[in-house]
Symmetry: C2
Subunit: 284 residues, 2 copies
């Protein structure tokens, strides 16, 4: 029914000079039209959709990205991730970027503490970055960020943390090793004060994510990895609101009381420790 409208909309893309743009937009038009044909919206519902998308746009800026939260909570981001981030066996798996990544976080030395406030359970994160054959990657860059024990990222509390908190950039040493101190992350809900929060409520869904640390890892000649490490035993590992959990990314935070390590990294006893090996695939 009304096929001529869809055929005409697709025909109008015929002269697009870029073949990829033409293919993408043709698919966009085709699938959005199929959706409309299935949903049979009233004009009032169409107006509601326009208002919703507009509001999502108004909530989005460089500190909070409501369109990313929308994509994440509809499973779209993880589908794009699954399709576009296929890594070879043995390489660290990827997951969502999330809406709270900030460009140009401060660069910190080996072992530095990213917790400004110190609130929460002290945690030492150590590990390495290597290639598929185990070759250590020196000077690999790790962008690290996480929410505090109250479930908020620094950018959600600009008055409390004007200079960033629980966020930093580290580089691996000659042996491909890195270390930093932080506090143990806690589960938290994606922000529900915006339009996506209303959508989750209308869907009868909870908004929670299991406890996790964010990483983006880059090294010359290797594929970038955007990923999380999830805290084993955390609530919501089943049922993450953004469907981002992969089994290989769930890691143990072990309670430790090593006095030498405690002194070296200026940590109270006991502290938690997480050690993880990131493996990057070579660029294609």
């Amino acid at each position: 029914m009304n096929e001529h409208i869809t055929l005409e909309a697709i025909a109008r893309l015929e002269d697009a000079p870029d073949a990829r743009f033409k293919a993408v937009m043709t698919s966009v038009v085709k699938h959005l039209h199929e959706m409309v044909r299935e949903v049979e919206p009233t004009m009032a519902e169409w107006e509601q959709a326009i208002r919703f998308l507009t509001e999502v746009g108004h909530w989005s800026d460089d500190k909070r990205q409501e369109f990313i939260i929308l994509s994440d909570t509809l499973g779209i981001t993880m589908l794009v991730d699954a399709i576009s981030n296929q890594k070879p066996e043995g390489a660290t798996e990827t997951t969502v970027l999330g809406p709270f990544f900030v460009e140009d976080a401060k660069s910190l030395p080996y072992g530095a503490n990213i917790s400004e406030s110190g609130d929460g359970e002290a945690t030492l994160v150590t590990g390495s970055v290597s290639g598929l054959d185990g070759e250590p990657l020196s000077n690999a860059r790790l962008d690290v960020w996480q929410a505090g024990p109250d479930g908020f990222y620094d950018v959600q509390q600009p008055n409390k943390f004007p200079n960033g908190n629980l966020r930093g950039v580290f580089h691996t040493d000659e042996a491909g090793r890195f270390a930093f101190c932080t506090v143990k992350p806690a589960p938290y809900p994606v922000p529900t004060d915006g339009p996506v929060g209303r959508m989750l409520l209308a869907a009868g869904r909870h908004a929670w994510r299991p406890a996790h640390l964010h990483f983006i890892i880059t090294a010359d000649g290797y594929q970038r990895v955007t990923t999380h490490l999830f805290v084993s035993g955390s609530e919501y590992l089943d049922g993450d609101v953004v469907q981002a959990v992969k089994a290989s990314l769930i890691v143990d935070f072990t309670q430790c009381d090593d006095p030498d390590e405690s002194t070296r990294f200026n940590l109270p006893i006991p502290y938690f420790k997480l050690d993880h090996q990131f493996v990057l695939a070579p660029e294609i």
Copy 2:
């Protein structure tokens, strides 16, 4: 491939209390996932899509609605219109609202001139509003708006026209008649200074619409009609960028030199005249 992600995203809508919301969102998730699976976007393309939608949101407010322009230029609005505005034989056909409707325009008396500046070719618009059996509808409301001969709506030139121009609300008299003076509309491009303009450029498409007047007509007990009247012979009647032209909405603007009418409506000679009968279907 990756069907589990889609099935999980759909399963999360299971507890939505409102059946319509659940059906709509299930269709949205299903079709967006199908689109992603067909397009196979890279993460960079996904990021580009997020940025595009965000920008469309930032360009949208109560004076300029870029999401409506996006929906219009992808043929989605006309598809929704075709599905949701099915009128019985003989009733005036509907078309797009467009992005420049403004609530609460000024109410004007029979015959008033909506052109503040007077720039353009003087035009008298007369007509009637009736029901399907020809019964005249008195006190029917006509919301009228159009672009000027330079192709801009008043809200696009807030410094030039702070109080509205080429925009007004009229009511039919006892005999269901209305009349107002204006200037002949001209073809114009949808705004191309925003993200949708870039999309049209990338698609190798022109941005033009044929000359038209906008109407929303409401009367107690009858279905609202949102429509245009297009100027017969106008450029772009074939190829309207928003696919909004329907044959029944193309009307003649006839050149006239009736001295009595010219005096009565305070129009120069010659002037253009358009007479049109709007027919509303009863509320269901």
